[in-house]
Amino acid sequence: MSEWLENHLPKVVLAPSFIAVLIFVYGFIGWTAWVSLTRSKLLPKYEIKGFIQYERLFDSPRWDTAINNLYIFGALFIIIAMVLGLLLAILLDQKIRVEGAIRTIYLYPMALSMIVTGTAWKWILNPGLGIESMVQGWGFTNFEFDWLVNPDYAIYTIVMAAIWQSSGFVMALFLAGLRSVDGEIIKAAQVDGIPTWRIYTAIIIPSMAPIFLSAFIVLAHLAIKSFDLVIALTGGGPGYATDLPATYMYAMAFSRGDIGQAASSAMIMMLVVFAIVVPYLYSELRAKND
């Protein structure tokens, strides 16, 4: 008996969460896929009608805007947050004083919820309350900074707030990576008289490739499911200029009673996530098998 338990305990312990994941993740992905093929409006219906919801989705200018915003937001957010995080980490890595305090300061934004970040930045960027009115109050009356209310630039305010929130976290990831590089190699390079910047670009950064991948995956999924930041900062506006796929899906499912449409947009979002995560998993698993 005890031997059987010993052999099967891991399976027994894991079974409930395995079943829960099977139902609540994969089961409901399947359910959403099914509903996305129907004409569901207020309540889900199960009669399959083909790809009509996807046709509607790709005909909708609002979805176009949402997807374009996702590209702009995702690309800028991931690249800038990583570059900034790496720079901060390298600067912190110079054996400076009060490193712990500075690290905490940069990490702190991560402790705030996106709603708080969004609301604070909404006030900072509001032309009548924030930076614009402050600088104009100093006497520079021609100063303009109205990105928040300008439909062409509003998406960049979301990028700013998201970077502010996340780059400290990326810094912490990279800092851990920098510290894990073998000190002997660096010392050997220093003995050979190689300049510091070369040590970073040729030795340290390449050896941190797995950290880059992790940071990228974390930031990418943050970008794709971004919702609360948009709601708090711009509410999707002006107009629907800062809609993201997640806010589009919410509007369709909960405000408009168009569940089929919401399901199809959810499926597309999931495919985007898959496109990023699957190659990552593939490379990870292959590395282990080798």
Binding site: L42, L43, P151, G235, G237, P238, G239, A251, G257
Partner: protein, 414 residues
């Protein structure tokens, strides 16, 4: 395990205990949770209790009713619908088509609802001929509010045409006053848009374009003119309008920062709450043009099991439409009674004007449902229109493009 069993038994005991009481029961799902609204719904609650009923309140705040609708969906899917739900417009028929609404025709006929409700409003309360909902109030949407002092100081009368409005706005702008207080949220853009459609196109055009969704009307020259006027009005709002809540826009009119606001009569509640007097401190008038856009709150009655619940439903329906509740509720809420035979002596001049216009437009056939407030169209259609309206208002899209997009969006929304 023991604890669980105990909990189950005690829950059963509570359930059994309450069904012994067997008075009329009602569970009411609504999202009237803010100050004045909560007070208004408490009136109904008291009356219901005074008639021997037991009321289970189910307020779900958030998202302008979105959260309540999500709760409703969950309840209906689990086969346990509330007795009555705050629903309005075509959403009532939409739920009816899901086969979950009750028939309250017996109450409606006994109480003679058909004789006291305007025909077009009564139409919303019926599902394929049977009564399935009870109206609570009538909000007028096509109001224009103004600061009396600002208008007097600039020698301006309340505009009766959109040209007059534009002339007045130009004059105000030259004088350094913001002509139009507006909040850049999609539904507020839509509110202004529909009053312009009504004003420029007239009631018949409004019916064709925003109720029947006739593609010809949607792409007509009249619609182009409507978008031109929207573009003009974009110039009359301050640059800081994006995302502003409607009550903050009302406050701008109150303190003289802005002259006009186009908003339904819930804005009146803000003026009154600040101690302003209608006709003296602030003026109310219908937006330029003929017609009347209504936004009627109502309770839809869901199919429930059990005689006590059915009795509660009937009692609730009867009380909602009864003159006493209609009067007390609407005095609190700022709207007017849905029934036409309530004495309006205690109501202010704006409410009296609203009631008078409701009567006359009902006779003239220009009493129309508000599209921006979900009275005219189903969610996906009205949402598609609002998308175009707000995209046009917040960008430099041309009116011709907007009209094309409007027709395409409507066609794509089914």
């Amino acid at each position: 395990m023991k604890r669980f069993a105990f909990a189950t038994v005690s829950t059963l005991a509570v359930v059994a205990g309450s069904s012994v009481l067997a008075g009329p029961q009602a569970e009411v799902l609504h999202w009237w949770t803010s100050g004045g609204e909560a007070k208004s719904v408490a009136v109904l609650q008291e009356e219901f209790a005074a008639n021997g009923g037991s009321w289970t309140d189910m307020p779900v705040a958030g998202g302008g009713g979105d959260a309540a609708m999500t709760a409703l969906r969950a309840r209906v899917l689990s086969g346990n619908a509330p007795t009555a739900v705050q629903l309005k417009g075509p959403a009532i028929q939409e739920w009816y088509e899901e086969g979950v609404l009750a028939d309250i025709s017996s109450v409606a006929e006994a109480e003679g609802w058909a004789d006291v409700l305007p025909a077009s409003i009564a139409g919303h309360m019926k599902c394929e001929g049977t009564w399935c909902a009870a109206p609570v109030n009538v909000h007028r949407v096509d109001w224009i509010w103004a600061n009396a002092d600002v208008l007097a100081a600039n020698g301006i009368e309340m505009p009766t045409t959109w040209d007059e409005f534009n002339a007045a706005a130009d004059k105000l702008q030259a004088a350094g006053v913001i002509p139009l207080a507006h909040g850049g949220q999609a539904w507020q853009d839509a509110t202004v848009f529909e009053t312009v459609v009504l004003g420029i196109g007239g009631p018949e055009f409004f019916q064709k374009a925003l109720v029947d969704l006739d593609p010809e009307a949607l792409t007509s020259d009249t619609m182009v003119q409507v978008f031109d006027q929207m573009r003009t009005m974009r110039g009359y709002v301050d640059e800081n309008f994006s995302g502003r809540d409607w009550n903050l826009a009302t406050a701008m009119v109150m303190n003289g920062e802005a002259a006009f606001q186009i908003m339904g009569d819930w804005a009146k509640g803000e003026f009154l709450a600040a101690g302003k007097k209608p006709g003296e401190d602030f003026l109310c008038a219908s937006t330029p043009g003929d017609g009347y856009l209504y936004n009627v709150d109502s309770f839809a009655m869901f199919d429930v099991d059990g005689d006590d619940k059915k009795a509660g439903q009937d009692l609730l329906a009867k009380l909602i439409v009864a003159p006493n509740f209609q009067k007390v509720f609407n005095l609190n809420k700022g709207s007017i009674p849905a029934r036409t035979d309530v004495a309006l002596d205690d109501f202010d001049i704006c409410a009296n004007l609203s009631a008078e216009d409701m009567g006359s437009t009902s006779d003239a056939g220009s009493l129309l449902p508000s599209y921006a407030h979900g009275m005219a169209l189903r969610g996906s259609q009205s949402g598609a229109i609002t998308d175009v309206v707000t995209a046009h208002f917040n960008s430099d899209m041309s009116s011709a493009d907007a009209v094309q997009q409007l027709a395409a969006a409507v066609a794509n929304s089914y």
